[in-house]
Symmetry: C2
DNA sequence: ACTAACATGTGAAATACTTCACAAGAAGTA
DNA sequence: TACTTCTTGTGAAGTATTTCACATGTTAGT
């Protein structure tokens, strides 16, 4: 079998591996700032609390980027990972719901840093519609489908109350958007060809709570 | 071996299982509102896009809560899961950093709903110190250690810039806090006996991006 | 040129996690 | 009571993921 350069990887890549690529990317950005030219799997693992073998295995799914005896070239590897993750480009993002969380996300630097540019805001509140957030005018959710299409939106972030989230997502799907990040605490229905991920900020707190109550031993960390 | 009622589970429980317990808890809250008295693993699985076997296995780690032929009693199971997760009580939470994300979290209903009560706010910005957020006065971060101790804080949410996060966490650790939820995009060092979880909202977007670019087939969902 | 120290990439082994499949219990019907 | 339907709880089987361990290759020093 060919290497995975063209047309995406052949084996199924696990979700964990993809999440770890995000971690590597962030670590590499930092290493670049610190003027490292190369980095070993050992050092990368240490910074992300993983094992060196894990790092090498993850990367090996996508090709061989390192040099024996030396390690991985920082800038080069960072670029490669960006390409793999699809963040070596700009994604046009719309944010729906300019409430507590929505407003925070408009200014969330990490999104823009990874190429996710919020270019459209929507809300259903008349007081918010027409107002200016970070240079963007909030649009009326009433014209959602049409405006998403016209603005060529590729990714939608949903930050509305759970009660209305499904209706909104139905509109979003009708507009042909294929990727949705949902902050509402509800399970949304979308067609098979639409990617949906949920962000549940309480979940990690619940994990902390569980760990404290049960003296849970976290997975060993090197 | 005894059942796991007292003293916590004996086997190591996987992180995934714990996260799924959060999902079950949320589903059960909804089922309760819909006046279900019992629910089968099949129905619960359907609502959370899991398999019935998975649901049963997860629950079986903690005891046997169901009745054959009938299913699980909704209210009872919800209570049991709350106990397992340690959210059948109030946790005293302090939020550090009243910026974009911090302000959003102050009003984030899901936290309070699961027993995480934010009772203290901190910032280092003179313009914010002394101001009122949802009935709370923002304290100066300068007295962090002392104030955390005095307020008997058990959980800290860190929502400050990456550049200062480590210093703050060091203070938090000195105050004896054992659970930290970190929103800063950086890997923090904490002693072994402190539980630390990171919340990285860009990660899920990166997953979406990867999926789109690679036509990634998501894990089969029933 | 030789040696020692490093470090990758990867089959194979070890673990961990999920799903299967079924014995056994519960409830309703007749 | 007998029979049918439903559903749990759980060993065992099946997958998936992680870690090991080492052949192979690079670099630097002498």
């Amino acid at each position: 079998m060919q290497s995975s350069q063209a047309g995406g990887p052949k084996k199924r890549i696990s979700e964990s591996t993809i999440h770890r690529l995000s971690l590597y990317y962030r670590a590499l950005s930092l290493l670049e700032k610190e003027n490292y030219e190369t980095v070993s799997s050992k050092e990368l693992a240490k910074r992300e609390k993983l094992t060196p073998a894990q790092v090498r295995k993850d990367l090996s799914f996508f090709g061989s980027f390192g040099t024996r005896g030396l390690g991985y070239p920082v800038t080069e590897l960072k670029k490669r990972i960006a390409t793999i993750l699809g963040i070596d480009r700009v994604w046009r993002v719309a944010l729906i719901g300019v409430g507590n969380i929505g407003s925070a996300l408009v200014s969330y630097k990490e999104f823009a840093k990874q190429g996710f540019h919020i270019v459209k805001l929507f809300d259903n509140d008349q007081r918010k519609i027409g107002s200016n957030h970070k240079g963007m005018i909030v649009s009326d959710i009433a014209n959602l489908e049409q405006e998403l299409t016209e603005a060529r939106i590729e990714v939608v972030v949903v930050a509305v109350p759970a009660t209305v989230a499904q209706y909104i997502v139905d509109d979003v799907v009708r507009a042909g958007v294929k990727a949705i990040l949902n902050f509402a605490p509800i399970n949304l229905r979308v067609p098979e060809d639409v990617y949906l991920r949920n962000e549940n900020m309480a979940m990690e707190l619940e994990y902390l709570s569980f760990a404290m109550v049960n003296n849970h031993t976290p997975k060993r960390v090197k």
